[in-house]
């Protein structure tokens, strides 16, 4: 077995750019999926009955599908449905957002439901409107409980961005496997890819643990 690690250094610029895309995809997906998840959770909890059913169906469907299938589906079906020629990056972002929005919606719903009913009733007895009670009593407490879950969703999302490599989004996994195919330095490139993911993912996982400890709710 002869190893030549210089191949990693020679392609450092490509790998760096690809790592940037991976990080950017994670941030962009979360930026879309947090407000959308809040909206879906609100529709599911307070919407008109048919809207509520639709929101529930959406959440249950996407939580019960493998992400890689959603990515392929978005790649082939979205252009036909929308008539738009979406770039792989936009398609990947759409697929990731659809997936993470469903998870976030469930997180927000569980967060709101975790606050006892008595608190809304108490706030309303004090003369607050339902919206006021929600905004000033329920949401501030729910946020504390939601944050640790969002942190672990973030860590999963960071890893799941690798799945959009199957539709040729030039993120870390795709670029590393491209270089592997061009140079035949299989072991070196795949190990470098794993190492880069590890270097970025490990601190994120530790940070998520810290947030979980920091905001642990004990009753």
């Amino acid at each position: 077995m002869n190893l030549d690690w210089s191949v990693v250094w020679q392609h450092r610029e490509q790998l760096l750019a690809a790592t940037g895309t991976t990080v950017m995809l994670t941030i962009a997906t979360m930026a879309i999926a947090v407000p959308c998840g809040m909206l879906v959770a609100a529709l599911r909890l307070y919407g008109w009955a048919p809207v509520r059913a639709a929101a529930t169906a959406y959440v249950e469907l996407f939580r019960n599908l493998p992400l890689i299938l959603v990515v392929f589906w978005a790649f082939y079906v979205l252009p036909i449905w929308t008539g738009l020629g979406l770039s792989p990056l936009a398609t990947g972002l759409a697929a990731l957002s659809l997936n993470v929005t469903a998870y976030n919606a469930e997180t927000f719903r569980a967060g709101l439901n975790s606050i006892r009913r008595g608190q809304v009733e108490a706030a309303m007895a004090l003369g607050m409107s339902r919206a006021q009670a929600l905004r000033r009593v329920i949401i501030p407490q729910a946020l504390r409980r939601v944050l640790p879950v969002l942190a672990s969703t973030w860590v999963s999302l960071f890893k799941d961005t690798s799945l959009v490599s199957v539709i040729a989004v030039t993120e870390l996994a795709y670029v590393a496997m491209q270089v592997r195919a061009q140079t035949f330095r299989v072991l070196e490139m795949l190990t470098a890819m794993a190492a880069i993911y590890w270097l970025l993912g490990y601190p994120q996982a530790k940070l998520a643990d810290w947030i979980q400890r920091r905001y642990a709710v004990s009753e």
Binding site: N64, I68, Y76, V77, S162, M193, A194, G201
Partner: protein
């Protein structure tokens, strides 16, 4: 839409579904078994072993499954000087990845049983192994049920990623049929339906069982 593409290729797709089931059951079982050993090593192993186990668990939380699978299939044979069938490589890769998650579920479940019970067992002259088997695990296993429900669902979803290393499971077979017939909407909608029908009962079923037995885990 013309769903005759599904009926024309039903045997091919059904064989994919069988492989998905086989891989899910095999990797689910092996990672739960391995996860139990890892959790015991983390909690009761020799002192030098603990940091190693923690590093392994946190690393698996930081590296995408795709990367683990691709590395196992393409790079491990170079290191070990062996060749592996895709199914076998997927089984190893998924087990290495998922065992870390299973270990954390076991640890959380076992640690949720109050330490006083272990001390009471010791005071009664039971050995640590006896206490684990007869006092701690019977309660912990019930409390772990919801977590293992989502673990099972994650396992089934992760088998779809094995399509990347050419395991002929449902995702891969769907891609092949799509590539031959150019009917992505029909093929991927069918795949979505199959995965949903597989995953939804698993998550719901575990919830139902848990509601029946939850009282057994209280102490």
């Amino acid at each position: 839409m013309d769903f005759s593409v599904i009926t024309d290729h039903w045997q091919f797709l059904a064989s994919g579904l069988l492989v998905t089931l086989a891989l899910s059951v095999a990797s689910g079982a092996s990672s739960i078994a391995a996860g139990f050993v890892v959790a015991l090593a983390r909690m009761h192993g020799p002192r030098w072993l603990k940091p190693v186990v923690v590093l392994y668990i946190d690393s698996m939380r930081a590296i995408p499954v795709l990367v683990v699978l691709v590395w196992t299939f393409f790079a491990l044979p170079i290191v070990a000087g062996i060749t592996m069938a895709p199914f076998f490589a997927a089984l190893i890769g998924l087990t290495v990845h998922l065992a870390a998650y299973a270990a954390e579920i076991f640890r959380a479940g076992i640690e949720s049983v109050r330490a006083g019970q272990t001390r009471a067992g010791l005071a009664l002259g039971m050995s640590r192994a006896e206490i684990l088997r007869r006092i701690v695990l019977p309660q912990a296993v019930v409390r772990m049920l919801p977590a293992f429900g989502s673990f099972l669902s994650v396992t089934i979803k992760d088998t779809a990623i094995a399509s990347v290393i050419a395991v002929p499971e449902l995702m891969r077979q769907s891609e092949t049929v799509q590539g031959q017939t150019f009917q992505p909407i029909e093929v991927y909608t069918f795949a979505m339906l199959m995965y949903f029908l597989l995953l939804f009962p698993v998550t719901r079923g575990v919830d139902l069982v848990y509601r029946r037995v939850a009282h057994l885990g209280r102490s």
